[in-house]
């Protein structure tokens, strides 16, 4: 019985490197990104996640939705244990396998095979277990001779194939997926969905961040919407997505209204 419990988790990133902060952008508010503010020592800080509370029970398939920079990837990294929370508490019961693609695999210069090995070792397999799994993983990736080439020569879709194949081969109980999966082509996506369906049937937990509503709809039963690093909506997938659609429409309408009113307000300031 796997589960995820998140209680009051906050995460913020300090920004170093002499970013001068003017009064104008001190309280910057925009549709995208987290909150930008300053901490006690007046360093620039990006509040990526603020007071996040939710729990996921076994068998639930959760979609993380929201604008770019709303905190989806950061939340996934917190769930995987990469970013320790700066406030709050996180309890994860179950074997976690994250599939994040921030370019170029674990080691861009290493070959595909070596990346499979490194990723497998990270996931806690022994060298022996990995060597035994390599034929199966290689087959699932369908990358053939490319597995002997450095990872940096891979396209985004090819990287996705590799990381997906390795991370799902360890039989995890909790799968954390970032948008990258959408980079796969149609034939790969079909097989990936098959694997995920099998995974979901064994009542594992799936947390998937994506902008691809179609993909999310096929896989997820519940959705959590993030905005500026806060949870603004959480519930059954269809309901949340409907409200999200309406909110986006409203936002677009406001924007076009602002755009027409813009010349006036500019001359005032």
């Amino acid at each position: 019985m796997s589960s995820i419990d998140v209680e009051g988790v906050s995460v913020s990133f300090p920004l170093y490197g002499g970013m001068a902060r003017s009064l104008k952008n001190r309280i910057m508010s925009s549709a995208t990104g987290g909150r930008v503010g300053s901490d006690r020592r007046s360093r620039t800080v990006i509040q990526a996640l603020e007071d996040i509370n939710f729990s996921v029970q076994h068998g639930e398939r959760v979609a993380l939705v929201g604008h770019n920079g709303a905190g989806k990837t950061t939340l996934l990294r917190v769930l995987s244990g990469i970013y320790p929370p700066l406030a709050g508490r996180l309890v994860i019961d179950g074997r976690v396998a994250p599939i994040f693609d921030i370019g170029l695999g674990m080691d861009p210069e290493a070959t595909g095979y070596d990346n499979i090995r490194i990723r497998g070792l990270y996931l806690g397999l022994t060298r022996k277990e990995i060597e035994a799994k390599i034929p199966e993983i290689a087959e699932f990736t369908e990358l053939g001779p490319f597995l002997d080439m450095p990872m940096r020569t891979y396209s985004a879709g090819m990287q996705t194939r590799l990381s997906f194949a390795v991370s799902t081969s360890v039989d995890p109980e909790i799968l954390l997926l970032d948008e990258g999966i959408g980079a796969g082509d149609a034939s790969f996506m079909e097989r990936a969905r098959e694997r995920l369906r099998g995974f979901v049937e064994r009542s594992g937990i799936l947390v998937l961040a994506s902008h691809d509503a179609g993909l999310l709809a096929r896989l997820c039963s519940r959705a959590i919407r993030l905005e500026h690093g806060r949870i603004v909506d959480d519930g059954p997938f269809d309901d949340v997505m409907e409200r999200f659609g309406k909110a986006t429409e409203r936002h677009l309408a406001e924007q076009s209204r602002d755009a027409t009113a813009a010349p006036q307000s500019d001359s005032k300031s």
Binding site: E7, G103, R119, V170, P172
Partner: protein, 311 residues
């Protein structure tokens, strides 16, 4: 600010743990490999309350993942020398040529027998090459692993062990040169010194781990550190007795005596040349090791959890 939602149901009392609970606490707190079934608790309060236990757990768990850092170290060496026939043996060759040339010149300058000088030079240079690599690249261990750190959870110490192990592998390649020279100059005396030199090497490796922890943690936050280290190591090279002997400094011998690298090199070099490292060298090395480890551990405990945010 948010209300302290956790105040009521905080599961851990705010009092020191009895000694027996220490081990179980470590088992509970540091993320284990994902394939081992267990509950992971990541709590900001816990990080603040038990930074030392957590840092210790990170170091132990990271060390146990020897297959991972071992593989990463080998892949790194293999990549650097892809498609070269000699591979890392190029380092060995360059060390041989370099020390050979210096021995001829210095032998003439100081009227020293060539074989003695060659033995002194090659051992010293092999260890020095190791020290430079540890110091220069130690400050970027986390920076170069950014991609991996942000993709897969693992104890951060994995990257420290990877760096030290990789540098040790290169030292093993370089050690061919002094080994050949010693076998030619005085094989029996050197062989007798091997156990003592091994203890010296062990002390050097422990210090390497500690200094890489310190430099790596600081280097993740302050990116100027790696540039500063390059400058410092080239300066250090001039004040370390490798081409010359500490005694030759005369009344300025203190310059060598306050230099930790000199003592670490002596611990290994002296026994291999058929002598013993001075007692003062042993004392210096051991005291330095204790301080070095303490600084590294305190720093790591305090800032380890910030490292992913700095990258």
């Amino acid at each position: 600010m948010r209300a302290p939602a956790l105040a009521g149901k905080r599961p851990f009392a705010r009092r020191p743990d009895p000694a027996g609970a220490f081990a179980s606490r470590i088992a509970r707190l540091a993320p284990p490999p994902v394939t081992s079934r267990s509950v992971i608790v990541l709590s900001a309060d816990e990080v603040r309350r038990a930074p030392y236990a957590l840092a210790f757990a990170d170091l132990v768990r990271g060390f146990r993942m020897s297959q991972l850092w071992g593989a990463m170290a080998w892949f790194e060496i293999r990549q650097r020398y892809t498609r070269s026939t000699l591979g890392p043996l190029w380092l060995t060759l360059s060390l041989a040529m370099y020390t050979g040339a210096i021995a001829v010149i210095y032998g003439a300058l100081f009227k020293t027998p060539l074989s003695e000088l060659l033995a002194y030079l090659t051992v010293g240079m092999a260890i020095w090459t190791y020290c430079t690599a540890i110091l220069n690249e130690g400050s970027i261990v986390f920076v170069v692993s950014e991609v991996a750190i942000k993709q897969m959870p693992a104890p951060l110490s994995v990257h420290i062990y990877r760096h030290v192990w990789r540098t040790l592998i290169l030292l093993a390649h370089n050690a061919i040169v002094p080994a050949l020279v010693l076998a030619w100059v005085h094989p029996l005396a050197s062989l007798k010194g091997v156990p003592e030199a091994s203890i010296g090497l062990l002390i050097l490796v422990i210090n390497s781990v500690a200094v890489v922890i310190t430099l790596g943690t600081l280097g993740a936050r302050f990116r100027d550190l790696s540039l500063l280290m390059t400058n410092l190591t080239s300066l250090l090279f001039f004040v370390t007795p490798i081409f010359w002997r500490a005694e030759q400094l005369g009344d300025r011998q203190w310059i060598a005596l306050v230099n930790p690298t000199y003592h670490f090199i002596e611990l290994i070099r002296a026994p291999l040349l058929g002598g013993h490292a001075a007692l003062s060298t042993w004392i210096f090395a051991l005291v330095f090791t204790a301080l070095n480890c303490a600084v590294a551990f305190l720093l790591y405990a305090r800032f380890r959890w910030r490292i992913p945010y700095w990258l």
